[in-house]
Every structure is written in C-alpha cells, then in structure tokens.
Symmetry: C2
Subunit: 225 residues, 2 copies
C-alpha cells in the first residue's frame, strides 16, 4: 500500500541545514496497524505529513497504491487526501468559526454528499466520540479534549481506508483514550490501515507493529503482534 | 494565597444553560504543589483561567493575596498576570509570526526589562527546556512538543511565584516530560506555588495534593505527600 524509499526532508534556515528526516525507507501493507513512536522533534509529524500527501520529500520516492506520489496530478492527490485518507492532526486544525458539526461535515462536502445525509453522518461521527451534546459548539467553546475528538470524528466521517492519527489521545483522559483506541481497533478489524504517532507506550502497545524514530532516522521496526 | 468561594462559571447557549463550574470552593497556600485531575470537559481549563485572572466567574468570590479579584483595578490585574503568575496554556498561545526567542521575551518586555538582559534571560529559559538550538524558529517551524516547551519557557522566564500549567507535558515524550517535571520540582523547592492540570497520573503523583474535578464540581481533595 505504502512504500517509502530513501526519504529525506530538509529545511534550509539561513546558513543552517536541518534534516527533519534522513534516508527513511519502509513499507506498510494494506490492513496494517502501525504505531510510530519517538522523542519530541524526532520527525514523526514530518513523516505523517509525507504519508498523508500533505507535504513532499526533499529527496526520495513515495508510492501509495503503486502510484508514485511525485507523478500524481492535483486531482489524483485531492482524491487520495479526501476519500482514502483520514488525518487527525497534532494541532487539530479545526475551522475556528464553524461549529463542531460543520467541521465534521467538511470532508463530506468535498465528497459531494447531500446536505441531509451529511448532517446525519456528521451527527453519528460526533456521537461515536461522545460529543453528541456539543455539536453546535465552536472550537473556542470546547475543551482541549473535546476539540481533539472533533478532529477525530472529522477524520473518520468519510470512512477512510487509511487513518493517519498524530497524537490522537494527547489531550484525552485515560477513560476517553481507551474509548478512542477501541474505536480505532474496530476500524482496523474492518480491514482498514491505521498509522498512529504517539508518545504513550500504552497506545503504541495496542498496534501490531512499532517503528521507533530518533533524529529523523528509523531506529527500530518491530512486529509486536 | 488563593481562596475560591462558591465559584460558578456558566455559559448561555441559546436556550441551554451550561455550567462549566458549579459551586467550587478551595484554598491554596503559598508554596503548595497542587495537581488538578479530571475527565475531558470537566472544567479544569475553565478553573485555571479563573485562578490566573484571565476570566471572571459568573458567581462567587476569588481572593488572591487577600485582594478580591473582582475589586482590582486593571493595573493591579495586569501586575498580577505579568509579574506574579506564569501561565502555560493548554493550546500554548504563541505568537505565530515571532521566533521562539521573541515569544519567550514577551513577559520581559511587559516587565520593562532592557533588550540585552531580555535576550540573555530568554536564551537561558529556552536552554533550560533543551531548545537552545531552536531559538530562531517560528512556531510553524517547531514540532508540537517544541512549541509546548517554548510555552513553558515563556511562563518561567519572569520567575513567577505562582506557576499555572495546563497539561504542560501533553505533547512531550516520557524523557522530556521527566525533565520538565524536575524543572517544576526545583521551582517548588525554591518556595514557589505550582498548580498543574494534568490527565496523566504519573504527573499528578509528583504533586503534594491532588484535586479531582468531575462535571464542574470538586469530587475529591487529597493530600498525597
Ligand atoms: N518548517 C520547518 N523549518 C525548520 N525546521 C522544522 C520545520 N518543521 C519542523 N522542523 C524541525 O524538524 C524536526 C522534526 O519536527 P516534527 O514536527 O516532525 O517532530 P515530531 O517528532 O512530530 O515532534 P513532537 O513529538 O514534538 O510533535 C524538529 O526538530 C523541528 O524543529
Ligand atoms: N465558551 C464556552 N461556551 C460554552 N461552553 C463552553 C465554553 N468553554 C468551555 N465550555 C464547556 O465547558 C466545559 C469545561 O471546559 P474545560 O475547557 O474547562 O474542560 P477541561 O476539563 O479543561 O477539559 P480537557 O481535559 O478536555 O481540556 C466543557 O464541557 C466545554 O464544552
Ligand atoms: Mg509532532
Ligand atoms: Mg482543558
């Protein structure tokens, strides 16, 4: 499903060259449940943005579904990002002036779904993360963990076959984290591919494979189930 | 130092009345190390904003240093917020177009510190959170955990006697979390007052007292050391 070969991501800062990712190579098969763990600043979000086609590498090749991402048209990329991939951002990236409901409807609008069906699907997605009673709240009328759950609901509403989640339980208490992890496990059991970035070992342990990243490089790649 | 009596925080949403805090009362003595723990949406950030004089209660009284906050002048409030309290926000609240260094200098600018002394203090604060090599980066050129550490450095740079930290290790890996918690313990050992909101039990266990909040009410208030 996903193939990364010799991926580098480099930023030029004045005279300084910063390598956020160095010569990263790995494969992810369809239906895998992978956790990516590593210290702060080690390159996890950078890697997730590349996997999600939200950014492009400085060097190296990235194939998704046997297509080289660098060769895709804008339409093909938009298709992948909106229909095949659900992305939970580390900083949520919600629209500040839209309600929770409207934020979750956004991917459905892009998918051309009718208004009444959108409403229903967005309501259901918010109910699945225990926010059924917060649908009219805007992000600044929600707690940190509630905003994170809106971001999760939005990533799931289009039933993506690939879920990319960057620290999806970072703002959640343990009980809510357990509920979200069960949600992800159900998705995985349905045959979908899950890639989670996390700092928390309890979250990483629920994946089937763990990649450890340090200073932009893969340090370890272990099958744990 | 801090006295809260019968505090309510209520939001009116159309016909619906939402009580984020209900009849909350407690005291915090000078030099205490308190953790506030509770589920997502239970009212922790709301309470922190009241303690930090960033918001006012709908009902009830709040005294800090024997002064009723509701009776303070704008000058007195500004003085407290800028000189006595250091606040680590759950969402960091960094200036997007300023470097890490400039973000950390901000409280020193308000305190009227000279430019050269500001530079030096801000550099030292960033070094204390292991970001000495990221001082010229802007927030969007930093990882999630790096942004959180800039927010921590900014809260500490003015040597506040009261540190209010809302989920200060939420975006940090375990090693970095341990470093930040040691930093807070040193501050506490120097006689300062520390109030931390956290979901993580390992973080709460390092405090001397833990208040558990649920649905806007105090459920438990335990001395643990
Ligand atoms: N636009 C940029 N310009 C320069 N450096 C950057 C930029 N974006 C990220 N970096 C640097 O690249 C490195 C990797 O960042 P990344 O966000 O991938 O880390 P991370 O592993 O997700 O960290 P965290 O766990 O703290 O979220 C960091 O050291 C960061 O400072
Ligand atoms: N401006 C607002 N208008 C309406 N409701 C609000 C507003 N701000 C917060 N709330 C509600 O008040 C409750 C408490 O919010 P608060 O941010 O204090 O929770 P929290 O304990 O910090 O949660 P978390 O652990 O998720 O950060 C939440 O249920 C939230 O939806
Ligand atoms: Mg990150
Ligand atoms: Mg909060």
């Amino acid at each position: 499903l996903i193939m990364m070969r010799n991926i580098w991501k480099t930023y030029q800062m004045g005279t300084e060259t910063l390598h956020a990712l160095r010569d990263v190579s790995f494969d992810v098969k369809k239906g895998e449940y992978l956790a990516i763990i590593g210290p702060s600043g080690s390159g996890k979000s950078t890697l997730m943005n590349l996997i999600g086609c939200l950014d492009s590498p400085t060097r190296g090749q990235y194939w998704i579904n046997n297509n080289q991402v660098a060769e895709m048209t804008d339409d093909e990329l938009a298709q992948i990002r909106n229909k095949e991939i659900g992305f939970v951002f580390q900083t949520f990236n919600l629209l500040a002036r839209a309600t929770a409901l409207h934020n979750v409807e956004l991917p459905l609008i892009y998918a051309g779904i009718s208004a009444s069906e959108r409403h229903e699907k967005a309501q259901a997605a918010l109910a699945s993360v225990e926010l059924g009673d917060r649908v009219t709240h805007r992000p600044n009328e929600l707690s940190g963990g509630q905003r994170q759950r809106v971001a999760i609901a939005r990533a799931l509403v289009n039933h993506p076959s690939i879920l990319l989640a960057d620290e999806p339980t970072g703002a959640l208490d343990s009980k809510t984290s357990v509920e979200i992890m069960s949600l992800f496990e159900r998705l995985h059991a349905e045959g979908n591919t899950i890639i989670i970035v996390t700092h928390e070992h309890e979250v990483a342990e629920r994946a089937h494979r763990v990649i450890t990243i340090r200073d932009g490089e893969i340090e370890k790649d272990e099958r744990i189930k």
